[in-house]
């Protein structure tokens, strides 16, 4: 994947910098250890990050995995080191789709998959379209670009709470426009409870997510040489053909990462549904992260909650692994 040249150059320059000063000849025999030290330096520099990563991510994950094999309820949380082991019990409860807990988890999983696919697709589509339209310079482009990034820059809580106000049944802006002004509905709709909550959640998620797609695609577009478009135009290619034959193929590596990142963020999103709906989301918008939170904190059954989290982790690992495998396989022959 990486080309050897830059590393060699870097080592060479480091070598030049570390040219022994005159009079250091006595240290010549220790040159071997010096090389080892030099080789160890990057690892040493990485160490603090590694330790923090261990502490912040891996240790809690490991603890979570251990918890998933224990019967951790209100009777044992205070002294959870001694909570009884339950083997695969928590996992069995989570994946028994005939029983209520498993059934609810499966429902929540399916809702989340549907929601994520729609949200990622819309974010990508809107973000890419906006980036392509902003590709050519025109008056006010900078202003528009900045404006587009606002949802991404706003703190999540503040942004979503504003949406809560807008989605309110009695005094919300959404109903005011749809019902009072445009007369599209017979009566005011509920957005924060019932079936419509799915669309409310999707709207907020896309509103919040597309600027990121826009930002990344805009960056990706800067790398496509203008000459390609000029040549295509000379050959008689229309705008749509240029987008299809030049823009999209050139953006492929960018999109591969973008879609994966959007997928993971959306699938795991906790803040948006939590701020929109509180601790118990309506069935139509019961995203898995809030569902797991509810399974652990509301019923105080942290063992089952951990088991569900581990299952979610495994699922995301499989999806991510599979995605990377498929996308890199597509790339290799092209390079080879």
């Amino acid at each position: 994947m990486t080309t050897p040249t830059p590393t060699t150059t870097a080592t060479a320059s480091a070598e030049t910098l570390r040219e022994p000063p005159p009079g250091a000849a006595a240290r010549e025999p220790r040159r071997g250890t010096g090389r080892i030290r030099r080789a160890a330096l990057p690892y040493l520099l990485l160490l603090p990050a590694l330790v923090l990563e261990l502490l912040v991510h891996l240790v809690p994950m490991a603890v979570g995995i251990v918890m998933s094999f224990r019967e951790l309820t209100q009777f044992s949380i205070r002294d959870w080191g001694t909570a009884p082991w339950s083997g695969l019990g928590n996992y069995k409860v989570s994946v028994n789709f005939d029983a209520p807990v498993g059934k609810a988890l499966l429902h929540s999983f399916l809702v989340t998959v549907g929601f994520t696919l729609l949200s990622v697709a819309l974010c990508w589509l809107i973000g890419t379209a906006a980036a392509v339209f902003m590709q050519d310079a025109f008056r006010g482009r900078g202003l528009l670009r900045t404006l587009f990034l606002v949802p991404y820059a706003l703190p999540v809580y503040a942004a979503v709470i504003t949406w809560v106000f807008m989605f309110q049944h009695d005094n919300g802006l959404v109903n005011h426009v749809l019902h009072d002004q445009l007369h599209l509905t017979d009566q005011r709709s509920f957005w924060l409870i019932g079936d419509n909550s799915f669309y409310a959640l999707l709207t907020v998620s896309v509103w919040k997510g597309w600027p990121f797609a826009f930002l990344i695609v805009t960056a990706g577009l800067q790398n496509i040489p203008r000459e390609l478009y000029e040549a295509a135009a000379l050959d008689g290619a229309g705008v749509w053909q240029q987008v299809r034959r030049i823009t999209l193929p050139s953006l492929r590596p960018v999109n591969q990462v973008l879609v994966l990142v959007l997928f993971l963020w959306t699938f795991n999103d906790f803040n948006t549904p939590y701020v929109l709906f509180g601790k118990s989301a309506p069935a139509a918008a019961d995203l898995i992260s809030v569902h797991i939170y509810q399974a652990s904190f509301v019923t105080w059954n942290f063992g089952t909650g951990s088991a569900m989290s581990v299952l979610l982790l495994l699922f995301l690992l499989v999806v991510t692994g599979g995605y990377l495998l498929i996308t890199s396989r597509g790339r290799r022959p092209a390079r080879g």
Partner: protein, 438 residues
Amino acid sequence: MRRIRAGATGAVALSLALAATACGGGSATGGGSNDSPKTLTYWASNQGASIAVDQRVLGPELDKFQKQTGIKVKLEVVPWSDLLNRILTATTSGQGPDVLNIGNTWSASLQATGALLPWDAENLAKIGGKDRFAAAALDSTGVRGKDPAAIPLYSMAYALYYNKKIFADAGISQPPATWGELVADGKKIDARGKAALGAEGANPSENIHHVFVFAQQRGAAFFTPDGKPDFTAPQVVDAVKSYVDLMATDKAIPTGDAEYAQNQSVSDFAKGRQAMLLWQSAASNLTSQGMSADSYGIAPVPVISGTPGSGTQVDSAFMGINLAVFKNTHNLDGATRFVRFMTSDAEQKILNKAYSSIPPVTSAQADAAFATPADTVLKSTLSASAAAMPQVPSESQFETTVGTAVKNLFADAAAGRAVTTGSVKAELEKAQQQMPAA
């Protein structure tokens, strides 16, 4: 280089040590100490109209305590939405406050975690003994037969608040005493273009308090006598359905209230948009929202027939706040002194007056400050017609699961879907299945 390596080793060791101590908190089984006798951390629940109000109310009292004892109390007012989670986290880590407020209905649930100091005879003697407190208040301090997990601090009851002007305009001369009267009055109020009754349909805790009373009035409880969930008994189903029917069929509660969860029904009442409100100790809240005390009346919550009393005439859950000491406290003596201070006659009068609640300490209750018409209604409810919420370890889970079931049923009613005995039973069945196997 060697120095770097030593530094790196040190960093790793330090972080591992930190991690180990952080994790180790969970296995602390000690019963508290007196390591830091000069400070206390106190988590107060949000009793006033806002957190700032609580800080203003409690601040001077904590200063008084410091003057008396030399102990500095670090106050943190924790919003209700976070309180239970914060307590659970503190329980798990062993790193928590020294003294904390809990909703009295959680007493048995938190007692089961073993995180709270049990108030045995010796500890109770330090705060003046059990007899200082109203017996009914002590019923909500943990599982019966065990030492209380917390001490009653403020007592509250539900009452019917009604807007005098809307009632007069609709030609209603007195507040409804039965649910039948309430629905009939609601129709008259509705005809004048006002909402009849408010509800926090999307707030599980509010829902649960009401359906608990509805169940009591039908002679039912949500738990069997030996503490097992029993949510699908016919009377329980009927109770939940009747409460949701106040919106679905009786049209007393406006459909918009189905999504209320931030006390919007209180502000609707305070702003004169809605004629009635079932709330616990609402006076100071209404005042802070600009509603003058003479513009509303207060009456007992309706019953099915007759007058409020015990058994099927119960018209409120025995609500309130309890004060608990965290077992892992580093200032056990100070924490006990603080509980003694907060439950002293003088403090009970000041604090309960500020929060328009009723002192659970009987000697303070008799004070003239608690003789307003509102307090008289609340006092008689607390002494004669309020029942303790189930004191079982899974109470907290019950509140959330059944409260959420009612939220879903309200959502159905608001969307115009029929709320039937079958649909109510299905929701309650789902709630029961989520309960821990007790």
